[in-house]
Every structure is written in C-alpha cells, then in structure tokens.
C-alpha cells in the first residue's frame, strides 16, 4: 500500500472512531430506556425490550412528564419569540441607525459581559424578586429569565446577519419614503430570514435545555423537562429506566431540528463565535 492510500485509511479510521465515541452514549441510553430496572441493574447486554419505562414516564399517575413537556414547549417558544423581537430591533438599531460608536461599543460589551456571567449568580435575586411579586412558579418568571439570558447571543447573531444586508436596499426604501419600521419589515427582514431562523432555533434549543434557572424558579406545576429528568435521577433509589426514557424523549425536538434545519443550526453556532 502506498503512503497516500495509507493516509486515507488513517483519516477514515480516526473519523469512524470519533463517530463511535460520539454515538455510543446515545445508543446506550436509548437501549437503557427499553430495559426493565432489573435488567439494568444486572447489566444485561442481551435483553427483552419493554415499553414499561415510556409507559411509566408518559402515563403513570405519579409522573408529570407530559405536563413538563408542555411547560418546556410554552417556555422555550415564548422566550424565543421575545428574544427574536427584541434582538432584531436592537440589532437593527445598533447596526443601521447611526448611533455614536461608543454607544454601540458599550452596549455590545455590556451584553458580552452579561453573557460571560454564570446564570446561578442571578438566579438568587430572580428567586427573591419573583417570590415578592408572586411570579415564583409561573411561566412569566422562567420565560423572562430565559429571554434575558439568551438576549446577548440573539443580539450578537442578528447583528452579524444584518451586517451582511446591502445598505443600498435600505437606501432605496428610504428614498421611496418608507419609515423605519416599514424598511425593517419589508426590506431588511425578508433578506435576513435565514439568519432569523438560525437565531430562533439556537435560542429555542438553549431554553429547552436550560436547567439551573428552571430548577430554582419552578415547582411542580411549571417544571420543565430537564427538571423532571433530574428528579428521576435524584430520588432515593434512582429510577434508571424512567430517567433514560425521559432523556430519550427530551432529545426529540433537537433531533427533529437537526434533521430538517441542520444548515441553520450550523450557521447559528458558528456565527455566534466567529465572524
């Protein structure tokens, strides 16, 4: 075998190894979701698949998983919509409405610093304030918290995408007598639609996955999916099967998005860090 061929084989071997290491934990937890607790505790590799874990998670009287799923959907969707609206306006403002440079600079730096701070440092005051305002264990508290945490990345992404819009388009609209809002809605937004989609998907996934805020601002009625999964893992005797089934079900939205909108996801993830 010549050197070039050997190189190709090594490349593929490396990539296949990487793929196995990435996929194995997914496969393992998916298998665990179909095992009985006894089969799990005995470490059986060969087993008879059962739907009992899914049945328990979804339909048993002691499980709130379906309600948790609804909570997660409501919270992630609402906070995403807020971020999209607010971030799009703010990004347009700082990119195109001729603010003095220092304003843009201070604003973006402030957002970046806020993004670098761990959420747990803010969860304390959020908890105290939401308690005082009667918002503890309500949707608005978590939705607002998630929207705020994701606002910096939303603004950052939307500003990156708006920078790519040719100014001539807007100038033509101004000359035709369009106001700011009209120009934004009729001219700019259609052009940045792919960017909006990328931002929306990324923010939705962030909110769907978020744990520490949801853990401390919600109780039984508003708990999200990650909080529910953690509960299975934290009970006196860990319910491994239910934990696995809940975990598998929780990845469905991301898998669907990855399947249908991979380009948007990659765009969002890479534009967020590299311009």
């Amino acid at each position: 075998m010549n050197r070039a061929k050997l190189g190709t084989v090594a490349v593929h071997a490396g990539l296949i190894c990487g793929a196995i290491i990435v996929l194995f934990p997914f496969a393992w937890i998916a298998l665990a979701a179909f095992k009985t607790q006894i089969s799990l505790l005995m470490g059986q590799v060969a087993f008879t698949p059962t739907l009992a874990n899914f049945d328990e998670v979804l339909f048993s009287g002691t499980s709130d998983y379906l309600a948790n799923y609804r909570n997660s959907l409501v919270i992630a969707t609402s906070s995403t919509l807020i971020v999209l609206a607010v971030a799009t306006l703010a990004a347009y403002s700082i990119e195109r409405l001729e603010w003095p440079r220092w304003v843009v600079h201070v604003f973006l730096l402030g957002a970046a610093v806020f993004n670098a701070v761990p959420a747990i440092t803010l969860v304390g005051p959020w908890y105290v304030v939401s308690r005082a305002l009667g918002l503890y264990n309500t949707y608005p508290a978590v939705i607002l918290a998630h929207a705020t945490l994701n606002l910096p990345i939303g603004i950052w992404l939307m500003a990156t995408f708006m920078r790519e819009v040719p100014r001539e388009l807007e100038e033509a609209a101004w000359i035709d007598g369009c106001g700011t809002l009209q120009t934004l809605v009729r001219v700019v937004l259609p052009v940045v639609m792919p960017g909006i989609a990328a931002t929306a998907i990324l923010v939705f996934i962030h909110s769907w996955n978020e744990f520490v805020v949801a853990l401390n601002l919600t109780a039984r009625q508003t708990a999200t999916v990650p909080v529910a999964i953690a509960k299975y893992a934290q009970e006196n005797e860990t319910k491994y099967g239910a934990m696995a089934a809940g975990a598998v079900l929780s990845t469905l939205p991301s898998l669907v998005l990855l399947f249908f909108a991979q380009r948007a996801i990659v765009r969002g993830l890479t534009a967020g860090a590299i311009r």
């Binding site: 190189g7 190709t8 934990p25 761990p118 705020t148 520490v212 990855l258 993830l269 590299i274």
Partner: protein, 291 residues
C-alpha cells in the same frame, strides 16, 4: 433624518428595558442582599444590614476555595483537551469530501442535548455495579472502578463528560474556520515542498489563530459556568472533589437557605468573572483578532 433619529431610540429601548429590569436591577438586589442578613419567615423576607462581614466569610470559606480551584481545573483542563481533539477532528474531516456532512451531523449531536441528559447518559455508563465502562474493563480482567465515587477519579470523570459534550463545538468552529481559509497559500506551500507538519505549523495554525483564541475564550466562559452535569453526576462529591463555584452558590443560597451569604458569594463570582472576561477580551484583541 429625524424619524430615523427617533427610531433608533425606540428600537433599542426594549433590549435596554429587559437588561435593566431583569439583569441590572437584580444585580443591584444581589448587592443589597450581600450586605444584609435575610431571614425567611412564612415566605416573607426580613432584612437586617450587616455590612461587609459576609464578604470576609466568602473569602475564608474552604468550600468556596475548593470550588474555585476545581472550577479552574475543570474549565482549563477540559478546554485544553477539547481544543486539541476538536482541532484534530476538524483537520481529519477536511480530508474527506463526500462523507463530510454525515460526520459533521454526527459530531454536532452532543451540543444540542440538554446537560442534564448528558449527565444521565454518563450516570448509566459510569455506574460501579452495572456501568458499561466497568463491564468493558471486566472483559480484560480489570477490577471495576468507582469512577464517580472515588476522590481520585471523580473530577477527571466529570471533565471527561465535559470533553465529550463540548469537543463537538470546538470541532464545528474549527471546521468552519478551516473551510474558510484561502486555498492559494496551501498551493504555494505545496509547490515549495512543505511537509504536512510544516504546513500545519507555518500555514494553518497562524491563519487559524484568531478563530482558535475566540473559541478558547468562548469555551472557558461556558466551562466556568458548569452546573448541570455536576448536579446530576456527583453533587460536588465525593467529599468536595467535584465541587465547583456554581454548585457552591446553589448550595449556600438554595439548599442551606443562606440568602445573604449566598448573595455575597454570587457578587464575588459575578464581578471576578466580568473582570476576567474584559481582561481576556482586551488581551486577545491586542493580538489582532476581531472578537
């Protein structure tokens, strides 16, 4: 142009209102709580001013110090491994053409999954009695290891989980960077007879440096925030071997109900990280990177 001037205020206002009301005001509240003793009586907070005393306690808190040290090891150690693996994986991926999208799809999967789910996956695999890692070791006649229950291995075990979780992110950014590099310099290097190592050392790395620095900073920020996996896998244990600052704050503020003291700790972490971030950003900027 006057409409445009007015527009720039109302378009920026919602973002400023949200940051002001949900970020700045709570930070003010946090500072106020940090100099107070807060008692909870029937769900009502009762405040008593205590001055700086709680800050003095934070700096002397052994758990906080251990947490800070572990966080540093966790973030720096994990991110270094992620950078090396992610870069290597991205280099390998640029060598294939037809299967590149398939590999990219597989490799980005862990980024999209909740941290709690990743904790659940590894809780199953690390289990002492029935975890698959010990089952594999048993095939080779090696004694089972209590990965998460042993002070010698617990921190390394949770760092390994973080490496599995976030190497894909480094991979994706490095791949995007590599794909956007100009091809003519490589042709020139090849004409000059550069070997693979020379090409990497003198062409790829210098061109990728800005992207590498940005990714590094980005990853360390997220690494310092770690909470979910620790919460699910070890709860900071055994002993304090996987205690991290986010977890210490959670413990003091929520588990122990020390509202004022937990706030003082939050303020210390918040401002330390904000300053570190600004310093790191200034430093990387001076090296000529755009971020």
């Amino acid at each position: 142009m006057t409409t445009r001037n007015a527009a720039r205020y109302w378009t920026l206002a919602p973002a400023l209102v949200i940051f002001g009301a949900v970020a700045l005001l709570p930070i003010g509240e946090l500072v106020a709580m940090s100099v107070s003793h807060v008692d909870w009586v029937q769900g009502q907070a009762h405040w008593r001013f205590v001055g700086m005393e709680q800050y003095a306690r934070v700096l002397g808190d052994a758990l906080f110090r251990t947490g800070a040290a572990n966080t540093l090891v966790f973030a720096v150690g994990g991110v270094v491994v992620q950078m090396l693996l992610g870069f290597a994986l991205a280099l390998l991926t640029t060598r294939v053409a037809r299967t590149r999208v398939i590999y990219r799809t597989i490799f980005i999967l862990p980024i999209l999954v909740p941290g709690i789910v990743i904790g659940a996956m590894w809780k199953l695999m690390y289990n002492f009695d029935f975890g698959v890692l010990n089952q594999i070791l048993a095939l080779f006649g090696v004694h089972p290891v209590d990965w998460l229950g042993n002070t010698a291995t617990a921190l390394a075990a949770v760092i390994a989980v973080d490496v599995w979780h976030w190497t894909p992110f480094v991979f994706l950014l490095m791949l995007a960077g590599l794909e956007s590099l100009p091809q003519d310099v490589y042709e020139a290097a090849r004409v000059d007879g550069a070997t693979f190592v020379q090409e990497l050392r003198y062409v790829t790395l210098p061109l990728m440096l800005p992207a590498i620095l940005v990714t590094l900073l980005f990853r360390i920020i997220v690494g310092v925030k770690v909470f979910d996996e620790i919460y699910l896998l070890t709860g900071g244990g055994p002993g304090t071997s996987t205690e991290v600052v986010s977890y210490t704050i959670f413990r003091r503020f929520f588990t122990e109900g020390q509202t004022g003291y937990g706030s003082a700790m939050s303020v210390v972490v918040l401002f330390a990280l904000a300053l570190l971030f600004i310093a790191a950003r200034t430093a990387t900027r001076q090296r000529g990177t755009p971020a």
